[in-house]
């Protein structure tokens, strides 16, 4: 069924579809029902409830902020579900209110229009489903996780949480780039607020600032890209942009491989947008903020820094796919940067001991996969990986959070062992196992299918075979470091010591297993991670996600790239076996090194390897000194420049001003003795002066 037929059939009414431009299609945008616009605004209810609770002392000690947030997000999720069920492959535009409307003449490019309006297509709905769904679940988890902070901190946390979902909805649902940018900055700000939640802890404050500043670099690129889009195409609305005649013409040229005829400024747009995506989605070289962002409370790490916000970059590229297609170097750059990030983060993750940090590097690495997927033109694979990753990475983080909560802040995998055998930790262990299997690409899990889709496309897309090999290697490393955590912390002999938050004798410490809210959420997410594999088998050739992408702007299907062969076989089929073998090998090595024969938490067979003590392993543990390198390359020179300017200002500018200040004082000091205070002195002065004056007058005349 071609794209045209499908759209006509699903909409069931006349749809003006242009000539099919190189596999993509342009559907007209219809007006959608107003209730759909409610979903992004529902989190405001949560914010208001939190504010009221913060202001009313009697409510301050209640858990009302948390339940208000959970309820508003759950209703938003319900609305998104309803939207999905009624969407039917259409592209809808829902206008909320007018925001910016400037015009300086008639004709295209002479008006800047950006409204609070929402572009609702299947890509939007796909993202919103896990943003609101996971948001509600993680808020429920946080009800229990944050209960030690009940009071103003609790209100602050949930207000930030709701505000984040509001911004993220704005980012995902916006129908124009300016509103998207508002959401983009909003999520960055909320991320800053929530990373710095423990604002009395210097490392948390530093991490919050780092995240904000590193994101500024990316946001500059995004802002420039948006401006260039407006200059080039005269519109910021997605619907008008994707239907733009020039863009469609360039797309035809691009698909014919004729990039030379596409103006440089058009090709530049994608490269600028890409910088924004790299910043928000923590790609090399801007990934350094994400591991530090783990200073925030664990629910924040799970929702913002693993499942939703960091996928905004992937969303941007998927949404702007037509723009990226007309740029010759943008998508290959995306692919390579993604691949480098995936490998780099995986190697760092292998050497860390802090389980939350391992998960953070794993997030960076998996985001690298998604970018590589976009780069090798499988937007479906990237979106599918985003979807599965959202589930299992949230689960992984929440499990780590449960461990951290139960063991007084202990996150070192050398100090906790054998959770499985302790009372009350069964659900956590099972959820963790499912999520780890997903992450390591164990056969028949969601992560397995989504990763394979990217890997197979990397191998069959011309020119990207090397990327395929690197990603395959990374898949093995991922399996290793994932199960390193599992085998060290969750199974093996029971042996633990408490973290920093335990005050008192170490012997008096008893870990407390998670309560009902945490267990419920972990159970739901565990089952969800297990079931997410199922979406691959429903709804068409490339699964449910494939059908969702097919109806959106991210759809891409060019002749010749898909359906290639690998070793004379269907690439997806052969990749099932290859990547399953690689994943199992990684798990086996982790089992051999970190589980087999281990009798206590601190030591294992891996410690006896010469490699563990080698210089390379130490470099990986020290994160390849990337932070130190940035410090040397940017922070030091900037600091020096600041010092130069400081002294310039202090001595030259201030000096000049001070000279003018000193001059009158010096003059006063010089002429002061003439004021003797004696009457005769003044008289002599007056008479002498008059005499001199008269003398001059006499001489002159």
């Amino acid at each position: 069924m071609s794209g045209i037929e499908r759209v006509i059939q699903t909409i069931g009414e006349t749809v003006a579809v242009g000539a099919q431009h190189g596999g993509g299609h342009v559907a007209t945008v219809e007006h959608g029902p107003t209730w759909m616009a409610l979903a992004p605004f529902l989190p405001i209810v949560g914010v208001v409830i939190c504010l009221i609770c913060a202001l009313v002392p009697r409510l301050r000690t209640s858990k009302l902020p948390a339940w208000g947030t959970v309820a508003s997000l759950a209703v938003a999720f319900g609305l998104i579900l309803a939207t999905w069920l009624t969407l039917d492959g259409r592209t809808l535009n829902v206008h909320a209110w007018e925001w910016i409307n400037l015009s300086w003449g008639d004709g295209p490019g002479r008006a800047l229009i950006a409204n609070f309006a929402f572009h609702i297509d299947s890509l939007t709905v796909l993202w919103m489903l896990f943003v609101t769904g996971l948001g509600a679940l993680i808020a429920l988890y946080a009800v229990e996780y944050m209960e030690r902070d009940v009071g103003l901190g609790y209100c602050r946390f949930f207000a930030g949480f709701s505000l984040f979902v509001l911004s993220m909805s704005c980012l995902v649902m916006a129908n124009n780039l300016l509103l998207m940018y508002l959401g983009w900055e909003g999520v960055g700000f909320c991320s800053y607020l929530l990373i710095g939640y423990f604002y009395k802890k210097p490392s948390a404050v530093a991490a919050a600032k780092k995240a904000f500043i590193v994101n500024r670099i990316g946001d500059l690129g995004l802002a420039l890209g948006i401006m260039l889009i407006f200059v080039q195409f005269g519109t910021l609305e997605y619907g008008e942009l994707f239907a733009n005649e020039r863009l469609l013409h360039y797309k035809d040229l691009a698909l014919a491989g004729d990039f030379a005829q596409i103006p440089f400024n058009i090709q530049l747009i994608a490269l600028l947008l890409m910088v924004g995506a790299f910043g928000k989605s923590a790609q090399f070289p801007l990934y350094v903020w994400l591991p530090d962002a783990m200073e925030g409370p664990t629910p924040v790490s799970a929702l913002i820094h693993a499942a939703t916000m960091v996928t905004a970059g992937v969303f941007l590229i998927a949404r702007m796919f037509p723009i990226f297609l007309v740029s010759e170097y943008a998508l290959p750059t995306v692919a390579w940067i993604g691949t480098i990030t995936a490998l780099l983060a995986a190697t760092i993750g292998m050497a860390q001991f802090d389980i939350k940090r391992i998960m953070a590097y794993s997030t960076v690495s998996q985001l690298g996969y998604m970018f590589a997927g976009l780069g090798v033109l499988t937007s479906v694979g990237a979106a599918f990986h985003v979807f599965t990753h959202a589930f299992f990475k949230a689960t992984l983080f929440l499990c780590c959070g449960a461990v951290m909560h139960g063991f007084a802040g202990q996150l070192d995998l050398r100090k906790v062992s054998g959770l499985r055998s302790q009372k009350g930790w069964m659900i956590v262990t099972l959820a963790m196992l499912i999520a780890c299997l997903n992450l390591s690409g164990f056969p028949l899990t969601g992560g397995f299918f989504s990763k394979d889709m990217i890997l197979a496309e990397a191998f069959v897309t011309p020119g990207f075979r090397v990327i395929g090999w690197i990603l395959l290697l990374t898949a093995g490393l991922t399996a290793y470091y994932t199960f390193r955590v599992f085998f060290r912390v969750f199974v093996g002999p029971v042996d633990f010591e408490p973290g920093d938050e335990h005050h008192g004798e170490p012997d008096s410490f008893h870990p407390h297993p998670p309560g009902w809210a945490v267990n419920t959420v972990l159970a739901i997410l565990g089952v969800g991670s297990l079931l997410v594999a199922g979406v691959y088998f429903v709804g068409g050739e490339q699964g449910w996600v494939g059908s969702m992408i097919h109806d959106s702007s991210a759809h891409y299907q060019a002749d010749g790239t898909h359906g290639g062969t690998l070793f004379g076989q269907d690439p997806h089929t052969i990749m099932y076996y290859v990547s399953a073998a690689i994943g199992l090998a990684g798990i086996t090595i982790a089992w051999w090194l970190h589980y087999a024969g281990r009798t206590e938490s601190a030591t294992c067979r891996a410690d006896r390897l010469a490699f563990t003590r080698s210089r390379v392993a130490r470099w990986a543990r020290d994160k390849w000194y990337v932070d130190e390198f940035y410090d040397f390359l940017f922070r030091r020179p900037l600091w020096l420049l600041g010092q130069v300017f400081y002294f310039f200002d202090r001595w030259l500018v201030d000096g000049l001003v001070n000279v003018f200040g000193i001059l009158p004082r010096l003059t006063g000091w010089a002429v002061r003795p003439s004021q003797s205070g004696l009457l005769h002195g003044y008289a002599l002065g007056t008479i002498g002066g008059t005499a001199v004056l008269l003398l001059i007058v006499w001489l002159v005349t």
Partner: protein, 115 residues
Amino acid sequence: MTSLLAQSALPAAMGSGVLAHYLFVSVVMFAIGVIGFLTRRTLIIMFLCTELMFQAAGIALVAFSRYHLNMDGQTFVIFVLTVAAAEAAMALALVVLLFRRSESLDAEGWSEMRG
């Protein structure tokens, strides 16, 4: 106006030799005043010297007025005399006050305005 007055109501113009006599007196009086002001230290004498300078100027004014047959100068002298009377009252009062403060009439005893 002034020429009319000169023709009808005033005597004949005075010669420049006569003017010189008046001016000589004026200059001598002024010089005595200046020298006295600069050399004497008693406040009352200094005050008297200022009066001398004042009146020297008055004589010069009257003399020039008569010489030019312009009555403005003489009118001005009437004002100067009035002001001088008022000023004399003020100055003497100040001198009395200053004397009460320092039990002395020495001008050098006062130097509060030294910079």
